[in-house]
Amino acid sequence: MSAAEIADIELVGVTKSYGGNVVVVDNVSLTVPRGEFVSILGPSGCGKTTTLNMIAGFHEPSSGEIRIRGRNQVGVPPEKRNIGLVFQNYALFPHMTVQENVAFGPKMKGQSKSETEEAVRSALKSVRLEGYESRYPKELSGGQQQRTALARAIAPRPSVLLLDEPLSNLDLKLREAMRIELKEVQQQLGMTFVYVTHDQEEAMSMSDRVVVMSDGVVAQEGRPSEIYQNPVSAFVADFIGKSNLLPVKQARDHDGRLTLTLGGGLSLVSERSGDIPANDITLCCIRPENVQLARKGASGENLLTGRVDKLVNLGAHAELWVDVSKDCLLKVQVPVRRLQGIEIGSHVDLLIESAAIQPLAH
């Protein structure tokens, strides 16, 4: 393998358990090539922070191997791993100025004064925080503290940068702006980023690849659009974006077209037979934006009729909850301009593209 092909981070069958029976991370394998922005996404308690701490070296895996640039890291303490880490609460040194905070890494690594100064200057430039060198952390806004933390982490030029929910203490507007900046910094430096978050929007908007974790295992891994469009399980479908998860009573395969029988006498046709054998299908996932309002009198497959049960106007679009059968509520996202004549209690016709119905086994 040439140097360029060696992945920056490789996790091979990494498991972390406490006391032998509490398994927090279960047999996770992951390869992060150089320069990639990977997000580990999952609800709290899914093992994502533990995974991050194992990469950083604060926890040792119970079994498995962690390699950074081809070298096994088990037994190597954090201070020897050449990794950057941005903390959720920033963990800036309160007794040091911005300059001193950012210079800390290069200084500890024994770089000369001029090298350190150069590293600090370029790190502060990357995060656009020039001119704040002599401020103390408490004199900075949340966003500026965040940038300082990022500058401090990148100043020693680590081989990879780990980010532990770094935006969760910021307000929404700033968070959205920082997402774009983080991505820009990452691309500029060409540095490998591993970003841990429970916020699917953050993960979707910045990452080259998303790893969804649940209960200590990788539930799905792939490009953001791939995960959104082809969730492999109800958990992923539900965690990433909004979805309608409808129980399937029976599925029949006709040359790559599936007929799904739902409760209440409904039946839908899906074009995605996929890898799941028809007998294993128990659910189907339909994204709310893939359900359209049909013209009156339209006909064809996957045409449903229902009564509007709830209507939530979100500004640009609205969400309708449509009662399509006795026990089946379908969430539908429609542009607000199509809302004319629709109110709670109205009857609407809905059309679902057969390609937008994703059958699921679990």
Partner: protein, 267 residues
């Protein structure tokens, strides 16, 4: 109603301040008393008594007390920092029990401790250590719990993520102690040392048992003098000690910056 409360508050508050300040005012007035019999005359005063302090009778005990207090402050500072590090920072096994043990000398009356130390020294054949070594050791037993308490508090308040941050940035154990932990707990260490200094400098009950004849600390000298005479020179000693303690506190605060620690960061 609220106005009445507010007036009541200020009256009450003034009384408390007066209660604290009055003895000092009396001592200050007595120290400049024009006659050897303590009298208060607003219009005649003298610094004669302070001049009389400038003799070896008073200077020697003062120097001894200051020396002992300084050594006690430094040693308790070091010991308490090490103890607090193990107990409050590293949370060693049984840290709660060890903390209680470290604070336990506070519960033993000083007289009892004094007797115990003298008995120990004599039965162990270490009687010759009475005097300065005994005083230093005795005072350290007394001051370490206070110092541990103050330093442990600043360690409990230390954000462990800072240590992790320093670590991931490549700092070794010693570098993390030197550049992150110590600067941040410095106010705690210095407030602990200040307390140790004051407690040692002013101590009577324990020192009574440990001083050697002819080599007495300042408070013990004052008590001995007081048995035979009550003149303004005692007041002058008190005022001088007070000024000295204030100077020490000021100096430690300049180095350690612990005002924040003591009154909760209103600065």
């Amino acid at each position: 109603m609220s106005k009445l409360l507010s007036v009541g508050y200020w009256v009450f508050f003034s009384f408390i301040l007066l209660f604290i300040a009055l003895p000092m005012v009396v001592v200050l007035a007595a120290s400049v008393s024009p006659t050897s019999h303590v009298t208060f005359e607003f219009w005649t005063w003298t610094l004669e008594w302070f001049g009389k302090l400038w003799t070896s009778k008073w200077l020697d005990p003062f120097i001894l007390s200051a020396k002992i207090a300084a050594i006690v402050a430094v040693i308790s500072g070091v010991l308490a920092t090490l103890g607090a590090y193990a107990v409050a920072y590293e949370k060693c096994p049984g840290h709660d029990a060890i903390m209680s043990f470290l604070l336990s000398p506070l519960a033993v009356p000083q007289i009892v401790k004094g007797v115990a130390i003298v008995l120990f020294l004599s039965s162990a054949g270490l009687f010759r250590y009475l005097g300065t070594p005994g005083l230093i050791a005795g005072h350290i037993i007394l001051t370490v719990p206070f110092a541990v308490r103050m330093i442990a508090t600043s360690m409990y308040n230390f954000d462990k993520n800072l240590d992790r941050a320093a670590r991931i940035l490549g700092a070794s154990w010693w570098q993390r102690i030197r550049y992150v932990l110590l600067p941040l707990i410095k106010p705690g260490i210095f407030s602990g040392m200040t307390f140790a200094f004051i407690i040692s400098f002013n101590n009577v009950p324990l020192s009574l048992f440990l001083v050697r004849p002819g080599q007495s600390t300042l408070p013990i000298t004052v008590i001995n003098y007081f048995e035979y005479s009550l003149d303004p020179i005692l007041a002058a000693v008190n005022v001088a000690s007070l000024l000295f303690i204030l100077a020490v506190i000021f100096l430690f605060e300049r180095i350690g910056g612990f005002t924040v620690q003591i009154h909760g960061g209103s600065k």
